[in-house]
Protein backbone atom coordinates (compact mmCIF):
# COMPACT_ATOMS: atom_id res chain seq x y z
CA UNK A 1 0.00 0.00 0.00
CA UNK A 2 1.09 3.52 -0.62
CA UNK A 3 0.05 5.07 2.68
CA UNK A 4 2.93 7.35 3.75
CA UNK A 5 1.53 9.03 6.88
CA UNK A 6 2.00 7.86 10.50
CA UNK A 7 0.25 4.61 11.38
CA UNK A 8 -0.59 4.25 15.09
CA UNK A 9 0.97 1.49 17.19
CA UNK A 10 -1.84 -0.73 18.51
CA UNK A 11 -2.71 -1.13 22.15
CA UNK A 12 -3.67 -4.41 23.78
CA UNK A 13 -7.39 -3.72 24.07
CA UNK A 14 -8.27 -1.85 20.87
CA UNK A 15 -8.41 -4.70 18.34
CA UNK A 16 -12.22 -4.53 17.89
CA UNK A 17 -11.86 -0.93 16.78
CA UNK A 18 -9.17 -1.73 14.19
CA UNK A 19 -11.05 -4.81 13.01
CA UNK A 20 -14.05 -2.53 12.52
CA UNK A 21 -12.12 -0.07 10.39
CA UNK A 22 -11.17 -2.87 7.99
CA UNK A 23 -14.85 -3.78 7.69
CA UNK A 24 -15.82 -0.15 7.10
CA UNK A 25 -17.45 0.10 10.52
CA UNK A 26 -16.84 2.63 13.25
CA UNK A 27 -16.75 0.68 16.51
CA UNK A 28 -17.02 2.60 19.79
CA UNK A 29 -16.67 1.46 23.40
CA UNK A 30 -19.76 1.70 25.58
CA UNK A 31 -20.30 1.03 29.27
CA UNK A 32 -22.98 -1.60 29.92
CA UNK A 33 -23.72 -0.11 33.34
CA UNK A 34 -24.28 3.55 32.53
CA UNK A 35 -24.72 3.07 28.76
CA UNK A 36 -22.46 5.98 27.88
CA UNK A 37 -20.05 5.88 24.96
CA UNK A 38 -16.50 7.06 25.61
CA UNK A 39 -13.65 7.79 23.27
CA UNK A 40 -10.70 6.82 23.41
CA UNK A 41 -11.02 3.13 24.42
CA UNK A 42 -10.37 2.57 28.12
CA UNK A 43 -9.81 -0.11 30.72
CA UNK A 44 -12.58 1.39 32.83
CA UNK A 45 -15.63 3.58 32.23
CA UNK A 46 -14.52 7.17 32.90
CA UNK A 47 -18.04 8.15 33.93
CA UNK A 48 -19.11 5.47 36.45
CA UNK A 49 -15.88 3.43 36.83
CA UNK A 50 -17.52 0.17 35.80
CA UNK A 51 -15.26 -2.40 34.17
CA UNK A 52 -18.08 -3.85 32.07
CA UNK A 53 -17.46 -2.39 28.65
CA UNK A 54 -18.68 -3.47 25.21
CA UNK A 55 -18.14 -2.42 21.60
CA UNK A 56 -20.99 -1.05 19.54
CA UNK A 57 -21.20 -0.25 15.85
CA UNK A 58 -21.63 3.49 15.54
CA UNK A 59 -23.49 5.44 12.87
CA UNK A 60 -20.35 7.10 11.52
CA UNK A 61 -22.10 10.45 11.75
CA UNK A 62 -20.91 13.52 13.60
CA UNK A 63 -20.53 17.29 13.59
CA UNK A 64 -17.53 19.64 13.71
CA UNK A 65 -16.79 20.77 17.27
CA UNK A 66 -13.79 22.93 16.41
CA UNK A 67 -10.98 22.98 13.86
CA UNK A 68 -7.68 24.59 12.86
CA UNK A 69 -5.51 24.74 9.77
CA UNK A 70 -2.03 23.30 10.13
CA UNK A 71 0.37 25.40 8.06
CA UNK A 72 3.45 24.24 9.93
CA UNK A 73 3.63 20.47 10.26
CA UNK A 74 6.27 17.89 11.02
CA UNK A 75 7.48 14.54 9.71
CA UNK A 76 5.40 12.94 6.98
CA UNK A 77 2.64 15.46 7.52
CA UNK A 78 4.90 18.39 6.56
CA UNK A 79 4.32 18.01 2.86
CA UNK A 80 0.55 17.73 3.33
CA UNK A 81 0.37 21.23 4.85
CA UNK A 82 -1.83 23.16 4.90
CA UNK A 83 -4.49 20.73 6.07
CA UNK A 84 -7.46 21.03 8.40
CA UNK A 85 -7.54 19.21 11.74
CA UNK A 86 -10.85 18.97 13.54
CA UNK A 87 -12.44 17.57 16.66
CA UNK A 88 -15.65 15.75 15.77
CA UNK A 89 -18.63 15.41 18.10
CA UNK A 90 -19.82 11.84 17.56
CA UNK A 91 -23.55 11.21 17.22
CA UNK A 92 -23.24 8.54 19.93
CA UNK A 93 -21.38 10.90 22.27
CA UNK A 94 -17.80 11.99 23.04
CA UNK A 95 -15.30 13.31 20.53
CA UNK A 96 -12.75 12.17 17.96
CA UNK A 97 -9.76 13.90 16.35
CA UNK A 98 -9.38 13.81 12.58
CA UNK A 99 -7.89 15.41 9.52
CA UNK A 100 -10.98 16.82 7.87
CA UNK A 101 -11.69 16.09 4.22
CA UNK A 102 -13.88 17.92 1.74
CA UNK A 103 -12.84 21.37 2.99
CA UNK A 104 -10.51 24.04 1.58
CA UNK A 105 -7.65 24.75 4.01
CA UNK A 106 -7.09 28.11 2.36
CA UNK A 107 -10.68 29.18 3.05
CA UNK A 108 -10.98 28.32 6.75
CA UNK A 109 -13.69 30.92 7.31
CA UNK A 110 -15.99 28.81 5.12
CA UNK A 111 -15.78 25.83 7.47
CA UNK A 112 -18.67 25.85 9.91
CA UNK A 113 -18.63 24.57 13.46
CA UNK A 114 -21.63 22.26 13.79
CA UNK A 115 -21.49 21.15 10.15
CA UNK A 116 -22.36 17.49 9.51
CA UNK A 117 -19.53 15.06 8.73
CA UNK A 118 -19.32 11.33 8.01
CA UNK A 119 -16.53 8.87 8.57
CA UNK A 120 -14.59 7.06 5.87
CA UNK A 121 -11.69 4.62 6.12
CA UNK A 122 -8.40 4.70 4.29
CA UNK A 123 -6.34 1.51 4.04
CA UNK A 124 -2.91 2.12 5.57
CA UNK A 125 -1.48 -1.37 6.04
CA UNK A 126 -2.77 -4.93 6.37
CA UNK A 127 -3.89 -4.38 9.96
CA UNK A 128 -4.98 -0.79 9.81
CA UNK A 129 -7.53 1.28 8.01
CA UNK A 130 -7.50 4.83 9.33
CA UNK A 131 -10.75 6.70 9.92
CA UNK A 132 -11.03 10.18 8.45
CA UNK A 133 -14.06 12.45 8.55
CA UNK A 134 -15.48 14.25 5.52
CA UNK A 135 -17.89 17.16 5.21
CA UNK A 136 -21.29 15.80 4.14
CA UNK A 137 -21.90 16.48 0.45
CA UNK A 138 -18.23 17.18 -0.37
Amino acid sequence: MSYKLPIPAKGTHTQPFWDGTKAGQLMLPRCTDCNRVHWYPRFICPFCHSSDLEWIQASGEGTIHTYAVQHMAFGAWAKEAPYVTAYIDLKEGDRMLTVLRGVDPLRPQDIKIGAAVTVEFEPADDDTHIPFWRLVGE
Binding site: R42, P46, H49, S51, T66, V69, M96, L97
Partner: protein, 403 residues
Protein backbone atom coordinates in the same frame (compact mmCIF):
# COMPACT_ATOMS: atom_id res chain seq x y z
CA UNK B 1 9.79 14.48 69.98
CA UNK B 2 7.79 13.32 66.98
CA UNK B 3 7.89 15.57 63.95
CA UNK B 4 4.93 17.63 62.82
CA UNK B 5 4.00 15.10 60.12
CA UNK B 6 4.13 12.14 62.47
CA UNK B 7 0.89 10.11 62.12
CA UNK B 8 -0.52 12.82 59.91
CA UNK B 9 -1.86 10.13 57.57
CA UNK B 10 -2.44 6.38 57.40
CA UNK B 11 -2.36 3.80 54.62
CA UNK B 12 -5.85 2.28 54.49
CA UNK B 13 -5.69 -0.22 51.64
CA UNK B 14 -3.34 -1.98 49.24
CA UNK B 15 -4.18 -3.85 46.05
CA UNK B 16 -2.64 -5.20 42.88
CA UNK B 17 -3.56 -5.57 39.24
CA UNK B 18 -5.76 -8.56 38.32
CA UNK B 19 -2.85 -10.61 37.00
CA UNK B 20 0.81 -10.10 37.75
CA UNK B 21 3.94 -12.04 36.89
CA UNK B 22 4.97 -13.29 33.46
CA UNK B 23 1.73 -12.64 31.63
CA UNK B 24 1.04 -14.65 28.50
CA UNK B 25 -1.21 -11.96 27.10
CA UNK B 26 0.88 -8.76 27.04
CA UNK B 27 -0.45 -5.82 29.02
CA UNK B 28 0.37 -2.14 29.04
CA UNK B 29 1.66 -0.31 32.09
CA UNK B 30 -1.50 1.79 31.97
CA UNK B 31 -3.73 -1.29 32.31
CA UNK B 32 -1.75 -2.47 35.36
CA UNK B 33 -2.22 0.94 36.98
CA UNK B 34 -5.94 1.06 36.28
CA UNK B 35 -6.68 -2.47 37.49
CA UNK B 36 -4.79 -1.85 40.72
CA UNK B 37 -6.65 1.38 41.38
CA UNK B 38 -10.01 -0.25 40.63
CA UNK B 39 -9.21 -3.13 43.00
CA UNK B 40 -8.02 -0.68 45.65
CA UNK B 41 -11.30 1.18 45.35
CA UNK B 42 -13.30 -2.04 45.77
CA UNK B 43 -11.18 -3.14 48.71
CA UNK B 44 -11.54 0.11 50.61
CA UNK B 45 -15.04 1.01 49.49
CA UNK B 46 -13.74 4.41 48.51
CA UNK B 47 -15.14 5.29 45.06
CA UNK B 48 -12.58 6.23 42.42
CA UNK B 49 -14.39 9.53 42.01
CA UNK B 50 -13.38 10.45 45.58
CA UNK B 51 -9.63 10.26 44.89
CA UNK B 52 -8.18 13.74 45.30
CA UNK B 53 -4.43 13.25 45.00
CA UNK B 54 -2.61 10.99 42.52
CA UNK B 55 1.05 10.12 43.02
CA UNK B 56 3.01 8.14 40.42
CA UNK B 57 6.31 8.09 38.58
CA UNK B 58 5.18 10.31 35.73
CA UNK B 59 1.75 8.78 35.06
CA UNK B 60 -0.56 10.97 37.12
CA UNK B 61 -1.95 13.07 34.29
CA UNK B 62 -2.62 10.02 32.12
CA UNK B 63 -4.18 8.13 35.04
CA UNK B 64 -6.52 10.94 36.03
CA UNK B 65 -7.63 11.40 32.42
CA UNK B 66 -8.23 7.67 31.98
CA UNK B 67 -10.23 7.55 35.21
CA UNK B 68 -12.11 10.72 34.37
CA UNK B 69 -11.21 12.35 37.69
CA UNK B 70 -10.05 15.88 38.46
CA UNK B 71 -7.41 15.80 41.20
CA UNK B 72 -6.45 18.57 43.59
CA UNK B 73 -2.92 17.29 44.06
CA UNK B 74 -0.70 15.86 41.33
CA UNK B 75 2.71 14.37 42.02
CA UNK B 76 4.92 12.63 39.50
CA UNK B 77 8.16 12.32 41.40
CA UNK B 78 10.21 9.82 39.39
CA UNK B 79 13.60 9.12 40.92
CA UNK B 80 13.70 5.36 40.63
CA UNK B 81 12.47 2.58 42.87
CA UNK B 82 12.28 4.68 46.01
CA UNK B 83 9.82 7.07 44.37
CA UNK B 84 6.82 5.35 45.94
CA UNK B 85 8.11 5.78 49.48
CA UNK B 86 8.59 9.45 48.65
CA UNK B 87 5.06 9.57 47.26
CA UNK B 88 3.80 8.39 50.64
CA UNK B 89 5.79 11.14 52.30
CA UNK B 90 4.45 13.78 49.88
CA UNK B 91 0.90 12.46 50.26
CA UNK B 92 1.14 12.65 54.02
CA UNK B 93 2.31 16.25 53.79
CA UNK B 94 -0.56 17.11 51.46
CA UNK B 95 -3.06 15.49 53.79
CA UNK B 96 -1.53 17.14 56.83
CA UNK B 97 -1.75 20.47 55.10
CA UNK B 98 -5.46 19.95 54.47
CA UNK B 99 -5.13 20.07 50.70
CA UNK B 100 -6.54 16.58 50.19
CA UNK B 101 -8.13 13.83 52.24
CA UNK B 102 -7.73 10.88 49.90
CA UNK B 103 -4.49 10.08 48.08
CA UNK B 104 -3.58 7.15 45.84
CA UNK B 105 -0.02 6.14 45.11
CA UNK B 106 -0.07 4.04 41.95
CA UNK B 107 2.38 1.80 40.14
CA UNK B 108 2.13 -0.02 36.81
CA UNK B 109 5.13 -1.33 34.93
CA UNK B 110 4.95 -4.01 32.24
CA UNK B 111 8.58 -5.07 32.57
CA UNK B 112 7.89 -8.46 30.96
CA UNK B 113 5.22 -7.47 28.44
CA UNK B 114 7.33 -4.49 27.35
CA UNK B 115 9.73 -6.94 25.71
CA UNK B 116 6.88 -7.78 23.33
CA UNK B 117 4.92 -4.54 23.06
CA UNK B 118 7.09 -1.80 24.58
CA UNK B 119 5.81 0.93 26.81
CA UNK B 120 7.54 0.19 30.10
CA UNK B 121 8.62 3.76 30.65
CA UNK B 122 7.14 6.94 31.97
CA UNK B 123 4.03 8.40 30.38
CA UNK B 124 4.69 11.11 27.82
CA UNK B 125 3.38 14.09 29.67
CA UNK B 126 1.04 16.24 27.60
CA UNK B 127 0.78 13.77 24.75
CA UNK B 128 -0.72 10.92 26.67
CA UNK B 129 1.29 7.89 27.63
CA UNK B 130 3.17 7.36 24.39
CA UNK B 131 2.70 4.52 21.95
CA UNK B 132 0.83 2.31 24.39
CA UNK B 133 -1.59 5.01 25.51
CA UNK B 134 -5.00 4.60 23.87
CA UNK B 135 -5.36 8.39 23.75
CA UNK B 136 -2.17 8.64 21.74
CA UNK B 137 -3.07 5.61 19.63
CA UNK B 138 -6.30 7.26 18.53
CA UNK B 139 -4.77 10.66 17.75
CA UNK B 140 -1.34 9.76 16.37
CA UNK B 141 -2.59 9.49 12.78
CA UNK B 142 -3.79 13.04 12.42
CA UNK B 143 -0.88 15.41 11.97
CA UNK B 144 -0.91 17.13 15.36
CA UNK B 145 2.62 18.33 16.07
CA UNK B 146 3.78 21.38 17.99
CA UNK B 147 1.73 22.99 20.74
CA UNK B 148 0.22 25.53 18.33
CA UNK B 149 -1.36 22.70 16.34
CA UNK B 150 -3.51 21.91 19.37
CA UNK B 151 -4.05 25.32 20.93
CA UNK B 152 -5.43 26.84 17.72
CA UNK B 153 -8.52 24.62 18.11
CA UNK B 154 -9.28 26.45 21.36
CA UNK B 155 -9.03 29.84 19.69
CA UNK B 156 -11.45 28.79 16.93
CA UNK B 157 -13.95 27.50 19.47
CA UNK B 158 -13.62 30.71 21.51
CA UNK B 159 -14.26 32.77 18.35
CA UNK B 160 -17.30 30.63 17.55
CA UNK B 161 -18.74 30.79 21.05
CA UNK B 162 -18.06 34.40 21.96
CA UNK B 163 -17.69 36.16 18.61
CA UNK B 164 -14.08 37.07 19.31
CA UNK B 165 -11.66 37.73 16.44
CA UNK B 166 -7.97 37.22 15.77
CA UNK B 167 -7.62 40.99 16.06
CA UNK B 168 -8.97 40.78 19.64
CA UNK B 169 -6.23 38.33 20.55
CA UNK B 170 -3.58 40.27 18.61
CA UNK B 171 -3.87 43.02 21.23
CA UNK B 172 -2.48 40.57 23.79
CA UNK B 173 0.67 40.09 21.70
CA UNK B 174 1.01 43.83 21.16
CA UNK B 175 0.60 44.83 24.82
CA UNK B 176 2.87 42.04 26.03
CA UNK B 177 5.53 43.28 23.61
CA UNK B 178 5.09 46.77 25.07
CA UNK B 179 6.10 45.33 28.44
CA UNK B 180 9.10 43.59 26.88
CA UNK B 181 10.37 46.88 25.49
CA UNK B 182 10.70 48.05 29.13
CA UNK B 183 12.75 45.00 30.14
CA UNK B 184 16.34 44.85 28.89
CA UNK B 185 16.48 41.13 29.70
CA UNK B 186 13.54 40.39 27.39
CA UNK B 187 14.54 38.60 24.19
CA UNK B 188 12.35 40.99 22.17
CA UNK B 189 13.43 44.13 24.08
CA UNK B 190 14.59 46.00 21.00
CA UNK B 191 15.56 45.73 17.34
CA UNK B 192 19.19 45.86 18.45
CA UNK B 193 18.69 42.86 20.70
CA UNK B 194 16.74 40.78 18.17
CA UNK B 195 15.93 41.56 14.52
CA UNK B 196 12.21 41.02 15.27
CA UNK B 197 12.39 42.82 18.64
CA UNK B 198 11.02 46.21 19.64
CA UNK B 199 7.43 47.47 19.55
CA UNK B 200 4.85 45.76 17.32
CA UNK B 201 1.41 46.76 16.05
CA UNK B 202 -1.82 44.77 15.97
CA UNK B 203 -1.59 44.87 12.16
CA UNK B 204 1.86 43.28 12.28
CA UNK B 205 0.54 40.51 14.50
CA UNK B 206 -2.30 39.89 12.07
CA UNK B 207 -0.12 39.83 8.98
CA UNK B 208 2.84 37.82 10.28
CA UNK B 209 3.54 34.28 9.09
CA UNK B 210 0.70 31.76 9.59
CA UNK B 211 1.63 28.89 11.90
CA UNK B 212 -1.70 27.23 12.68
CA UNK B 213 -4.70 29.15 11.44
CA UNK B 214 -5.97 31.32 13.04
CA UNK B 215 -2.66 31.88 14.88
CA UNK B 216 0.18 33.71 13.18
CA UNK B 217 3.67 33.46 14.61
CA UNK B 218 3.18 36.58 16.76
CA UNK B 219 0.31 34.82 18.55
CA UNK B 220 2.85 32.16 19.62
CA UNK B 221 5.53 32.18 22.30
CA UNK B 222 9.19 31.86 21.41
CA UNK B 223 11.42 28.87 22.17
CA UNK B 224 14.60 30.23 23.76
CA UNK B 225 17.01 29.35 26.57
CA UNK B 226 16.15 30.05 30.17
CA UNK B 227 17.31 29.01 33.61
CA UNK B 228 15.96 30.15 36.95
CA UNK B 229 15.38 29.15 40.55
CA UNK B 230 13.50 30.38 43.59
CA UNK B 231 14.01 29.65 47.28
CA UNK B 232 11.38 29.06 49.97
CA UNK B 233 12.05 29.06 53.71
CA UNK B 234 10.16 29.09 56.97
CA UNK B 235 8.94 32.48 58.25
CA UNK B 236 11.58 32.32 60.98
CA UNK B 237 14.48 31.96 58.60
CA UNK B 238 12.94 34.50 56.23
CA UNK B 239 12.94 37.06 59.06
CA UNK B 240 16.71 36.78 59.36
CA UNK B 241 17.48 37.31 55.69
CA UNK B 242 18.32 40.55 53.93
CA UNK B 243 15.97 39.88 51.04
CA UNK B 244 12.29 40.83 51.19
CA UNK B 245 9.88 37.93 51.70
CA UNK B 246 7.02 37.30 49.30
CA UNK B 247 4.45 35.08 50.94
CA UNK B 248 2.63 32.18 49.34
CA UNK B 249 -0.83 33.15 50.51
CA UNK B 250 -2.59 30.56 48.41
CA UNK B 251 -1.87 27.62 46.15
CA UNK B 252 -3.99 25.28 44.09
CA UNK B 253 -3.63 22.76 41.32
CA UNK B 254 -5.89 20.85 38.98
CA UNK B 255 -6.14 19.33 35.53
CA UNK B 256 -8.80 18.89 32.90
CA UNK B 257 -7.20 16.31 30.67
CA UNK B 258 -3.89 15.01 29.39
CA UNK B 259 -4.62 14.67 25.67
CA UNK B 260 -6.59 17.56 24.14
CA UNK B 261 -8.98 14.94 22.75
CA UNK B 262 -10.40 14.82 26.27
CA UNK B 263 -10.79 18.59 26.79
CA UNK B 264 -14.48 18.95 27.63
CA UNK B 265 -14.80 22.69 26.91
CA UNK B 266 -12.24 24.19 24.54
CA UNK B 267 -12.84 27.65 26.01
CA UNK B 268 -12.07 26.68 29.62
CA UNK B 269 -9.14 25.21 31.54
CA UNK B 270 -8.82 23.74 35.00
CA UNK B 271 -7.43 27.10 36.15
CA UNK B 272 -10.93 27.88 37.43
CA UNK B 273 -10.48 25.05 39.94
CA UNK B 274 -6.82 25.66 40.79
CA UNK B 275 -7.53 29.37 41.20
CA UNK B 276 -10.55 28.68 43.36
CA UNK B 277 -8.36 26.59 45.67
CA UNK B 278 -5.64 29.25 45.73
CA UNK B 279 -8.02 32.14 46.38
CA UNK B 280 -9.81 30.16 49.09
CA UNK B 281 -6.53 29.31 50.81
CA UNK B 282 -5.47 32.95 50.60
CA UNK B 283 -8.82 34.30 51.77
CA UNK B 284 -8.63 36.68 48.84
CA UNK B 285 -10.34 37.05 45.50
CA UNK B 286 -9.52 38.15 41.97
CA UNK B 287 -10.63 41.72 42.63
CA UNK B 288 -7.81 42.05 45.18
CA UNK B 289 -5.10 41.08 42.71
CA UNK B 290 -2.91 44.01 41.67
CA UNK B 291 -0.78 42.05 39.22
CA UNK B 292 -1.19 38.86 37.18
CA UNK B 293 1.47 36.61 35.73
CA UNK B 294 -0.14 34.23 33.30
CA UNK B 295 1.51 31.58 31.15
CA UNK B 296 1.02 33.03 27.66
CA UNK B 297 2.13 30.16 25.47
CA UNK B 298 -0.24 31.66 22.94
CA UNK B 299 -2.46 34.71 23.03
CA UNK B 300 -5.50 32.46 23.46
CA UNK B 301 -3.91 30.87 26.55
CA UNK B 302 -3.60 34.25 28.22
CA UNK B 303 -7.16 35.26 27.31
CA UNK B 304 -8.80 32.04 28.52
CA UNK B 305 -6.67 31.95 31.68
CA UNK B 306 -7.59 35.53 32.59
CA UNK B 307 -11.22 34.41 32.38
CA UNK B 308 -10.60 31.30 34.47
CA UNK B 309 -8.78 33.36 37.14
CA UNK B 310 -11.85 35.58 37.48
CA UNK B 311 -9.99 38.64 36.20
CA UNK B 312 -12.54 39.02 33.39
CA UNK B 313 -15.96 37.52 32.55
CA UNK B 314 -16.09 34.45 30.28
CA UNK B 315 -15.47 35.43 26.69
CA UNK B 316 -13.98 38.81 27.63
CA UNK B 317 -10.45 38.00 28.76
CA UNK B 318 -8.94 39.70 25.71
CA UNK B 319 -10.51 43.02 26.71
CA UNK B 320 -8.01 43.38 29.58
CA UNK B 321 -5.35 43.90 26.91
CA UNK B 322 -7.46 45.49 24.20
CA UNK B 323 -8.73 48.17 26.58
CA UNK B 324 -5.26 48.76 28.02
CA UNK B 325 -5.88 47.53 31.57
CA UNK B 326 -3.07 44.96 31.32
CA UNK B 327 -0.66 47.42 29.66
CA UNK B 328 2.04 49.54 31.33
CA UNK B 329 0.18 52.10 33.45
CA UNK B 330 -3.05 50.06 33.41
CA UNK B 331 -5.13 49.08 36.41
CA UNK B 332 -4.13 45.39 36.28
CA UNK B 333 -0.64 44.88 34.84
CA UNK B 334 -0.25 41.43 33.27
CA UNK B 335 2.99 39.71 32.27
CA UNK B 336 5.18 42.67 33.15
CA UNK B 337 8.38 40.87 32.10
CA UNK B 338 7.16 40.62 28.50
CA UNK B 339 5.69 37.15 28.83
CA UNK B 340 6.44 33.93 27.04
CA UNK B 341 5.46 35.85 23.93
CA UNK B 342 8.26 38.43 24.17
CA UNK B 343 10.42 37.95 27.29
CA UNK B 344 11.50 34.31 27.18
CA UNK B 345 9.96 30.88 26.89
CA UNK B 346 12.14 27.81 26.89
CA UNK B 347 9.43 25.16 26.66
CA UNK B 348 8.18 25.17 30.26
CA UNK B 349 7.52 28.74 31.37
CA UNK B 350 6.49 28.29 35.00
CA UNK B 351 9.80 29.49 36.45
CA UNK B 352 9.95 32.91 34.73
CA UNK B 353 6.45 33.57 36.10
CA UNK B 354 7.73 33.00 39.65
CA UNK B 355 10.84 35.11 39.17
CA UNK B 356 8.94 38.08 37.80
CA UNK B 357 6.32 37.78 40.54
CA UNK B 358 9.06 37.83 43.17
CA UNK B 359 10.78 40.82 41.59
CA UNK B 360 7.58 42.83 41.31
CA UNK B 361 6.32 42.06 44.82
CA UNK B 362 9.70 42.51 46.48
CA UNK B 363 10.28 45.83 44.75
CA UNK B 364 13.29 44.59 42.85
CA UNK B 365 11.90 44.45 39.30
CA UNK B 366 13.41 44.35 36.67
CA UNK B 367 16.40 44.62 35.10
CA UNK B 368 19.00 42.09 35.78
CA UNK B 369 20.27 39.01 37.41
CA UNK B 370 20.57 40.85 40.68
CA UNK B 371 17.10 42.34 40.54
CA UNK B 372 18.21 45.96 40.51
CA UNK B 373 15.39 48.44 40.93
CA UNK B 374 13.86 49.24 37.59
CA UNK B 375 10.40 49.07 36.04
CA UNK B 376 8.19 48.57 39.01
CA UNK B 377 4.42 48.14 39.31
CA UNK B 378 4.38 48.53 43.10
CA UNK B 379 1.88 45.67 43.25
CA UNK B 380 1.47 44.01 46.64
CA UNK B 381 -0.64 41.09 45.47
CA UNK B 382 -0.23 38.84 42.46
CA UNK B 383 -1.97 35.84 40.97
CA UNK B 384 0.37 33.48 39.12
CA UNK B 385 -0.94 30.77 36.82
CA UNK B 386 1.02 28.14 34.96
CA UNK B 387 -0.57 25.93 32.30
CA UNK B 388 0.93 22.64 31.16
CA UNK B 389 0.44 20.22 28.31
CA UNK B 390 -2.28 21.08 25.80
CA UNK B 391 -4.28 23.44 28.05
CA UNK B 392 -4.23 20.36 30.29
CA UNK B 393 -2.89 21.07 33.77
CA UNK B 394 -2.83 24.23 35.87
CA UNK B 395 -1.15 25.50 39.01
CA UNK B 396 -2.21 28.77 40.61
CA UNK B 397 -0.50 30.79 43.33
CA UNK B 398 -1.59 33.87 45.22
CA UNK B 399 1.53 35.75 46.30
CA UNK B 400 1.61 38.77 48.59
CA UNK B 401 4.32 41.12 49.78
CA UNK B 402 4.91 42.34 53.32
CA UNK B 403 2.74 45.32 54.14
Amino acid sequence: MPGKLSRAAAIVGAAEANEIGFLKQPVTSLQLHIEAIKNLSEQTGVPIAKIEGVFSTGWSSELCEHLGIRPKYIDTTAVGGCSFEMHVHHAMAAIHAGIIDIAVVSHGENGHSAQKIGGRGIANYGLGGGATSPGFEMTAAYGIGGASSNYAHAMVRHMHRYGTTTEDFAHIAKVTRDWATLNPRAAMYSKEKHPFGGPITVEQVESSRMITWPMTILHCCMVADHGGAVMLTSPKIAAGLNTAPVWVAGAGESMGHSNMLEMPDFTATSACHSADAAYTMAGMGPSEMELALIYDSFTITAAITAEMLGLAPRGQGHLLWKEGHAAPGGRLPINTNGGGLSFNHSGMYGMPLLIEAYRQLSGTAEDGVHGDKGKQTNARTCVVNGTGGALSTTGTLVLVSDE
